[in-house]
């Protein structure tokens, strides 16, 4: 029997990471993200307030300890805003990656029953975290204005900084969510790493303190972490130029390419790894 494929219609090749229709894919990501975003907010009457309370509470505690008691931010302009910005950025990172790790398992019912582009699941987590970040950034902005910050031309850097952070988070979300299907200790391991990263990222302190106390090489190593350089560069571009730019720490503008390169590499590795794992996720749950 000879088979002319076209006579049989469309070949069924099993699930993949992306699907074959980009519009369909993004609509799915959007729907998954908005429904769980709604779920989080409307689950309790004060949903949004609670969502806002988390970074604000952490901010309040840190602010009191570090500026009032330890005097860390002394001499730094708008240190409070810089601290809040750091917390909000880091929260985006943990929100997106931390939730994405378990996302494939959490959506088990869907994965086992419907053929849809699997990548939509971790990406929806990143998108949902992005919604949160958007709301939190409004608060940061109000804070900035209230503390005497002003509009600067360098604000146009912000979308690029955000894009780098999204690339890095998405890449990690893909790698870890696909890994978690096979290795269930990925999640606790990731939690520990997150904790370490929180202190390894210039959130509470600034990179100039690192340069002063631990030297330039340490500062350069810390800024290789895209989350760290996103926070540092955002402080420089959004709050005050006295926060040293990432490029200046490396001594050359090309230094910016290190965290950007790491973000892009993470994204590419994530896409490749997730694409390889996607067809077999349903049977490994």
């Amino acid at each position: 029997m000879t088979t002319d494929p076209s006579a049989h219609g469309r070949p069924i090749t099993g699930p993949g990471a992306f699907g074959d229709d980009a519009q369909h894919f993004w609509r799915l990501v959007w729907t998954l993200a908005t429904t769980s975003f709604k779920l989080r907010f409307f689950g309790s009457a004060l949903g949004y307030l609670w969502q806002l309370m988390r970074p604000l509470m952490l901010f309040a505690v840190m602010y009191v300890i570090f500026t009032v008691i330890l005097g860390v931010g002394d001499g730094e302009p708008l240190y409070g805003v810089a601290l809040l910005l750091g917390i909000v950025f880091f929260q985006f990172f943990t929100d997106s990656v931390g939730v994405a790790v378990r996302s494939i398992i959490a959506r088990e019912a869907l994965i086992r029953k419907v053929d849809f582009p699997r990548l939509a699941v971790p990406l929806a987590c990143v998108l949902q975290a992005l919604f949160n970040l958007g709301l939190n950034l409004i608060v940061v902005l109000l804070f900035l204005i209230a503390n005497g910050g002003h509009l600067m031309l360098s604000w146009i850097q912000f979308p690029l900084i955000l894009l780098m952070l999204i690339c890095f988070s998405s890449g990690l979300a893909m790698i870890l969510s696909a890994m978690y299907v096979r290795f269930r200790d990925v999640q606790p391991i990731w939690e520990v790493i997150t904790q370490a990263l929180f202190y390894g990222t210039p959130i509470l302190y600034t990179i100039s303190m690192v340069v002063d106390k631990a030297g330039l090489p340490t500062a350069r190593i810390l800024l290789m972490n895209p989350v760290a350089s996103a926070i540092q560069q955002a402080r420089h571009a959004m709050i005050d130029h006295s926060y040293v730019a990432v490029g200046n720490v490396y001594g050359t503008l090309a230094g910016d390419l290190i965290p950007i390169g790491i973000s892009v590499a993470t994204l590419i590795i994530g896409l490749l790894y997730f694409r390889a794992a996607a067809p077999h996720m349903a049977e490994r749950l």
Partner: protein, 422 residues
Amino acid sequence: MSEPNSSSAAVVVEGLSKSFDRPEHQVSTLKEQVLQPFRPRRSRHLRALQDVSLSVGRGEFLGIVGRNGSGKSTLLKCLAGIYRADQGKIWINGSVSTFIELGVGFNPELAALDNVMINAAMLGLSRREAKQRFDAVIDFAELEDFTDLKIKNYSSGMRVRLAFSVMIQLDADVLLIDEVLAVGDAAFQQKCFDEFEQTKQKNKTVLLVTHNMGAVDRFCDRAVLLERGRIAAIGEPEAVAQRYVDLNFSPAARTAAAKAESAVNLAPDADDILSGDGRAVIEEAWFEDSDGKRLTTLTSGADVAFSARIRFVEAVRNPIFSVTLSSSARIPLFSASSEWSKQPSGQFAAGEELVWKVDFKNALGPDRYGVTPAVTLRDGATLAARERISSVVVTRTNPGPLVDIPFTQQLLRSTPTDANQG
């Protein structure tokens, strides 16, 4: 898009194989992987589908039947694109709607509307199409009063109704349906049946996995019987349903037959413990039917015979021959012995051989029975015994108790009425 010729199939499957590697430890960890990177990970290779080929015509209603684990659901999941096939090809002509494992993948925390929207997004519908669909879905599922309720608060019947409704309202060309008839109340089942009639009229292609042979008979144009991942039968629904019933109720018969191929008279799971003082030897033992044909499986209610070939090493006077059949739980259920016959068996010379034969009507129910023949003397000495020399399987078309004693029955009512006169 070119319209294929009218005779073209809606679903074509060619040489489809799918196997799973099930790790022995359900959860593997990264730690394990890092600490012992070269240790081979033990896993069980499970062949769910082996070289399955079939073609389903447009508008055909195909039933897929088979015992649990025969590969039905795997086949459907491969067709639905949820599993990627290891080998083989699948083509589907037209849009597909699936109903797998009693659902379409609801999020229990969300209300019906959100779930229907997610489902629509997954199938590639636009928001407007999805919204339009929602009313029809709720209407069909008869859940108008529960649209704001979270799915987790639905009863299982309501959940299935919603899922089935989502699937059927998609108006796809090919429907892949797994076990919808197993749940839901009678009204819902009737609704499913009505919907099946409708799909037939609309010339849709349906692949229905079910254990409900009535439905297979009623709706299917053709049926496929899967057994251990292969197509065991395909064709007329009635014939396939019958094969399924046969297969379902004599699994032991098949295993016994398979074993009989390797060891003719001695089933491998028999213990065959030899005892006795050696004055006699039980050479072999077997069952046979009334025509003298040797049997490895017995049917309940049939006339059968047990025979043992015995050789005497020394001269023996009045030996007693006996055999005991005990159930798989090692409970003796039937014994036959020459001890209770009025005539003593007589004098046997050294080297003499004989066959002791017991005819009986098999009143045993389905099970595997261990067979223990023995030659003893009245004073209690054992000349030869072979405990569980062999085992025999008893089958019956329906499962039932361990003994099948022939009986008659009548109704004796205290106040005679016209009804029991006849």
